[in-house]
Assembly symmetry: C2
Homo-oligomer: 160 residues x 2
């Protein structure tokens, strides 16, 4: 039995169903968030992260690190959110560079409202249809995958 180079029909089917389920779920959650709180999933992520920082101003790099987003993605997102008056970029550097990022009042209340609502939507769409076995399997797979992709060669971090 030579190693099969292609996926079996069953594997394709599983792959397809998995991708499909994921996309439907994401779309559903995003729609609800948009409808109920007027924000998107990406905006929600930023709002939550800033909300958890309480009063402390965050920097772009810090946000990028915390969200595991690319810097440019954060910058673009902040520009849009600044236009929508959800966040505030304060001038800190001497030149035109702005570094400190804060929630506006509108952003803060949006965050507080959305966290509860979005959480219960996640529960409704995701956790309620999830058996403990499935949860364990998905958790294990998630961490495997993150490790595998994030740190393909971890030899750099260990003291060698």
């Amino acid at each position: 039995m030579a190693e099969p180079r292609t996926l079996s029909p069953e594997q394709w089917e599983l792959w397809h169903a998995w991708m499909q389920a994921h996309r439907l779920l994401q779309r559903e959650l995003d729609r609800d968030l948009q409808r109920d709180y007027g924000i998107s999933k990406a905006e929600f992520s930023v709002l939550v992260t800033l909300h958890e920082a309480r009063d402390r101003e965050m920097r772009v790099g810090e946000l990028a690190e915390s969200l595991d987003w690319e810097k440019s993605r954060v910058a673009h997102q902040l520009t849009r959110m600044e236009n929508r008056d959800l966040v505030d970029r304060t001038d800190r550097e001497s030149s035109g560079r702005r570094a400190g990022i804060r929630l506006t009042a509108k952003g803060r209340s949006a965050a507080q409202n959305a966290i509860v609502g979005h959480g219960s939507n996640i529960r409704r769409y995701f956790f309620e249809a999830l058996s403990p076995d499935q949860a364990a399997a998905i958790q294990a797979w998630s961490h495997q995958t993150i490790d595998r992709i994030e740190a393909p060669d971890s030899k750099l971090t260990s003291g060698g």
Copy 2:
């Protein structure tokens, strides 16, 4: 114990890890597809679907149905792919409406090459790190979720 309205920290963690894993996986697969075959995941999907139709021309609605995409998404994608000479829209209706969609020679060869390569990438990134238990759990969850979201009230399909 009143029903908790918000997710537990563990649930948030699982949710976050899962989203993260998914995004990393998708990005990785898309990058490889782009690097090795010069096409994106969306283009791949269209190419495969048209490839499986062999010589038969497909219509936009048929493609949308088969891929479970919105019509407009298909139209936009076809426009991009037409510009890149991967597909061909043939005139069929009397007016300026184009209905028949075919692969170009370039599209056909791209499809044939990519199917093998992409399949083995999926195997490498997804199936190799997946135990049978995990596969079963993920499959079950996927179908549950698709059913739940796609057909929230299925009373229309059964002969009433």
